[in-house]
Symmetry: C2
Subunit: 391 residues, 2 copies
Amino acid sequence: MKETRGIQFKNQHRPVIGIVGGGQLARMQAMAAARLGCIIHTIEKTDDCPAASVVQKHQVGDWNDPQVLLPWAESCDLITLENEFVEASTLLKLEEAGHQILPTASTMAVVQDKWHQKERLKEQGLEVPNFKKVDEVQDLVEFGQEHGWPVVLKKRKQGYDGKGNTTVHCAEASAEAWEHLGGAQNPLFVEAFCPFIKELAIMVIRTPSGLQATYPVVETEQKDHICHTVCAPAQVETPVKDRAQALGIRAVEAVHGIGCFGVEMFLTAKGDLLINELAPRVHNSGHYTIEACPCSQFENHIRAILDWPLGSTDLVRPTATMVNLLGKSEGPAMPSGMLECLQDPETHLHIYGKTHSKKGRKMGHLTLLGEDPEDIKVRAIGLAQSVQFGL
Amino acid sequence: MKETRGIQFKNQHRPVIGIVGGGQLARMQAMAAARLGCIIHTIEKTDDCPAASVVQKHQVGDWNDPQVLLPWAESCDLITLENEFVEASTLLKLEEAGHQILPTASTMAVVQDKWHQKERLKEQGLEVPNFKKVDEVQDLVEFGQEHGWPVVLKKRKQGYDGKGNTTVHCAEASAEAWEHLGGAQNPLFVEAFCPFIKELAIMVIRTPSGLQATYPVVETEQKDHICHTVCAPAQVETPVKDRAQALGIRAVEAVHGIGCFGVEMFLTAKGDLLINELAPRVHNSGHYTIEACPCSQFENHIRAILDWPLGSTDLVRPTATMVNLLGKSEGPAMPSGMLECLQDPETHLHIYGKTHSKKGRKMGHLTLLGEDPEDIKVRAIGLAQSVQFGL
């Protein structure tokens, strides 16, 4: 493929893309890559993960162990990630062995440490909530006294879906919160609580050759710290959208991100936008793009890392709502109520093929497209309620 | 899954769908089924076929051998097909062993023998070109003398993409045509040449519970007997579309078809519609539905055989054109010119993951959606020309 800009394929004619991880994000990336003719290899700790059943080769192994990851990487032309938990030092070993990884080890080193990430964004003049590294309980107490309670204490690494975060309401609760997050073992940082009126997000894609694209700014709603609904486009004024888009692009530029990145933001009552965090990967807030846009975040991520032209990120209908389908309890991986949900002929249902449901586990999602944002959102939430995992 | 109407799953919670065959139709069905949470098992004579790299389990074996097919079927809750070449007698053995196959062995027995298929359609009062069984050369000569030359001599079984067909221009050419198609070994039949002005097609879906849906009537263009472009919707008057839809439904009802069926028709200058043939499966003329409709032919086929509700078959944009990407010669499976083709951000490109290109082989397809049928068609054909397999 002489037109391929950066990447040279071992396999001459079909690029082999390695995805580190085997969850639903790997699965949906793999499906998009397959459609473009790529071969996909994944690696995950278990053999019954969502991606394993839709890829050419799946290896069971600990992706944080360079002794495991290096030989796996040998078969790949290009490696990408489904999460931010692979240690940047491990990724650096792969790069040193000559493998191409996108996003790069250096991007991941900045992003996967949320304190480091915020430092970088602040250095670049981007708005973030006030924050401080917490080396001991006293740092937390002082921060609360300076910026006002409550504050949010966070692990610098490994947090997701509210795991690794805790809200601290007063100085007296600080020691317990520090204990709760294992402050003695885990590096922590603290953030001022941001009294937002909306949470916005945007997916930004950048290629090695300098192409970039953004999907529409969306509005996300969390329940119990887990993404519940995503509505596209966000119901905010155009100037807010424009600022969110510019902020998203600058944030991804700040970490030299290549591929698809999710940028989460808070919109305050005063109209300020503050970056909550970056996800160096395809993101739950972009799942709606599978049906709502000509080219999904998954396909554009694959195109971006291959340095291919990007596909259209426009909305094909005026509005879309995505609702996550979470496990209600332990139980089977196929939900009850699926047929009720499919009675609406417009339902786009995605079941991730996990072997078991657990309470709060992301088991699938559904997307609805249409004309009226409020109508679509209400319908989508109603349909999602009919699907019950683990009951 | 207590709501599931007909099918009982061995695997309690996730339906295992077996697809007999491993080509691009199996591949695209598998991807749609995976999205709905199904597990997919395929069987094909080779291990590097398009479906093998996107399914949970792929078995290498001859699907026409009941000794191979029966043990494979044991792991499946439900079996479907990607082609009409599996002998109905083989499928019947599976049914007798208690397996559920959709479409059924009895439907396949009628459809896979094109003479038998036409007899059935004619019995039901549906318009087909004149035809006759050809047991010896004299049958062919008499048919030509009665209905006028040229006529089309066809194999009753195993024909596709013009393979197994030959046009006979005069009585004198009859013996050679008969020889060419191996009339002594292969049962043949002959059809009057239909001087059509357009070839139309429609995808019809029927479920065991009696739901049915149709996709828009499309216009197909063949080159060298292989589907080249499909434009949706067909540019014909509404009454023609309505008749084509009614004819398509009646044709699939005539063979008691369950699942997705393609119905190819000729439109004559006088405005008559004659059925060319039925395909008892997802069909090249329905590939455009992946992007052009909320629910693709592949997903609706899976829903139909599971007896689930059907998804919307409406067009999301006013028009769509699909162009097949054929191999130009022997060569690698990834095309040159792919990046040129992807420069249009609206291009929906599908590469089937075949290991090698051959002249005339279907290697992929592309779809373009838009407003103006003529503009979209011209653009799609132009984009397709930039993609070169085997050069």
